[in-house]
């Protein structure tokens, strides 16, 4: 079930980008970034760059998503209530 939700949200993210609903895409992107690990977002960005033909220009979408993922990775421990020494389930 959680994997199904991830697949559906990634699918809608792709659909939003293709349909130029950038606000919706940004919301889904941010939600996924902080809800899950976010690796898939970078892979999705690579696929999008390939769809738009990145071999002829700089893969801007991939670079942007990698930077956002890195930023999210740094921010997650501060956003999660990580002050308590409790186990967290990954």
């Amino acid at each position: 079930m959680p994997y199904l939700l991830r697949v559906i949200s990634l699918f809608f993210l792709l659909l939003a980008v293709i349909s130029e609903w950038y606000v919706v895409a940004a919301i889904i992107f941010l939600w996924y970034l902080f809800r899950y690990t976010g690796y898939e977002l970078v892979l999705l960005a690579l696929i999008l760059d390939s769809y738009y033909g990145f071999s002829n220009h700089l893969p801007i979408i991939s670079l942007f998503s990698f930077i956002a993922w890195s930023f999210g990775l740094m921010l997650r421990p501060r956003l999660l209530l990580y002050t308590h020494n409790i186990e967290i389930v990954s």
């Binding site: 792709l14 659909l15 696929i47 760059d49 390939s50 893969p59 421990p77 186990e87």
Partner: protein, 313 residues
């Protein structure tokens, strides 16, 4: 079974660095593969993007009902909003035009009256809703020749009040409908003289004894000031056990609609009984004469008919 990883703050710091390194290397590797062998990435991209592109194309180009509805709904909603705004603007414009037309007609009537009978045309600058009593404030005063006691007319000969206070540049007009204002009126129909008293709020009433056939629609004249019609009876109060009955009269225009008035230059002189009777007789006879009938259609223009007959022969 859940996979637990007891991550404390200290160990998470190391794990973040490891995760970042892993992500960076993976991304770099895929990018290198993509640059060196683009067909590999393209193949995977084609498989993953095919359903997405299919749905996107269906939404944008399909002639089916649902995508058409979804596409056109947004534009129709915008169009509805735009049309609503246009309609509101047009209604406002129409109201403004109507008001201006009405004001123009009143001004024309007042100007015609002032040139023919030497009255002073004045604009109403405050009305009973802004003033406490049935008063009008006009923009002409003693500098223009307005005197206290002068009658104030609406149109040609409909008196509506009298000047009670005149300053150099403005004046106050007491309306006939002011509470306590008394005048003598002539009621057409029963053909009797009656006392007209103001009730306030733009309403006056005539008081006649029981037995007189007073009806809604009877015209009320004020022969002491002019020979014109003041108004008509719009409502009756008739209690059989009371000795008197009342007919309520309102001015021809609502008070808020009075924009221009004309003020007589002199205080009207007192009239004798015969003068009043004559004025009433003239006013009543005047209703049967139409002013806008063309001459050629009247029975008195035989000369024109003869000329027309000759020319046709």
């Amino acid at each position: 079974m859940k996979k637990y990883s007891s991550i404390t703050k200290a160990s998470f710091r190391r794990s973040t660095t490891r995760r970042w390194q892993f992500g960076f290397l993976t991304t770099l590797a895929i990018l290198m593969v993509g640059w060196l062998i683009p067909s590999v990435i393209s193949f995977f991209s084609y498989i993953i993007m095919a359903p997405v592109v299919a749905i996107s194309s269906w939404y944008e180009y399909s002639e089916a009902t649902l995508p058409q509805y979804l596409r056109s709904r947004a534009s129709l909603t915008d169009e509805i909003q735009q049309l609503k705004e246009e309609s509101v603007n047009q209604t406002g414009t129409q109201l403004s035009i109507r008001r201006l037309l009405e004001e123009n007609m009143q001004l024309r009537a007042a100007t015609l009256t002032s040139t023919s009978s030497k009255r002073i045309v004045a604009r109403v600058i405050a009305q009973p809703t802004k003033l406490n009593y049935d008063l009008l404030q006009i923009d002409q005063g003693t500098e223009s020749g307005v005197v206290v006691g002068a009658p104030v007319f609406l149109g040609v000969d409909t008196v509506i009040g009298v000047v009670v206070n005149a300053a150099p540049t403005y004046a106050f007009v007491d309306l006939l409908t002011t509470a306590g204002f008394n005048a003598t009126a002539y009621i057409v129909g029963p053909n009797v003289f009656a006392s007209l008293e103001g009730v306030g709020g733009g309403v006056a009433r005539v008081r006649v004894p029981q037995g007189i056939d007073l009806r809604v629609g009877n015209l009320v004249l004020l022969p002491s000031v002019s020979s014109g019609v003041y108004g008509e009876i719009v409502s009756l109060e008739n209690v059989a056990t009371q000795p008197e009955q009342y007919g309520y009269v309102t001015p021809p225009l609502p008070l808020k609609g009075i924009l221009y008035v004309s003020v007589g230059r002199d205080i009207p002189p007192p009239h004798s009984e015969s003068q009043i009777n004559e004025a009433v007789r003239q006013a009543v006879r005047g209703y049967f004469k139409l002013d806008n009938v063309p001459e050629s259609k009247t029975a008195t223009s035989t000369k024109n008919e003869q000329i027309n007959k000759q020319s046709s022969d």
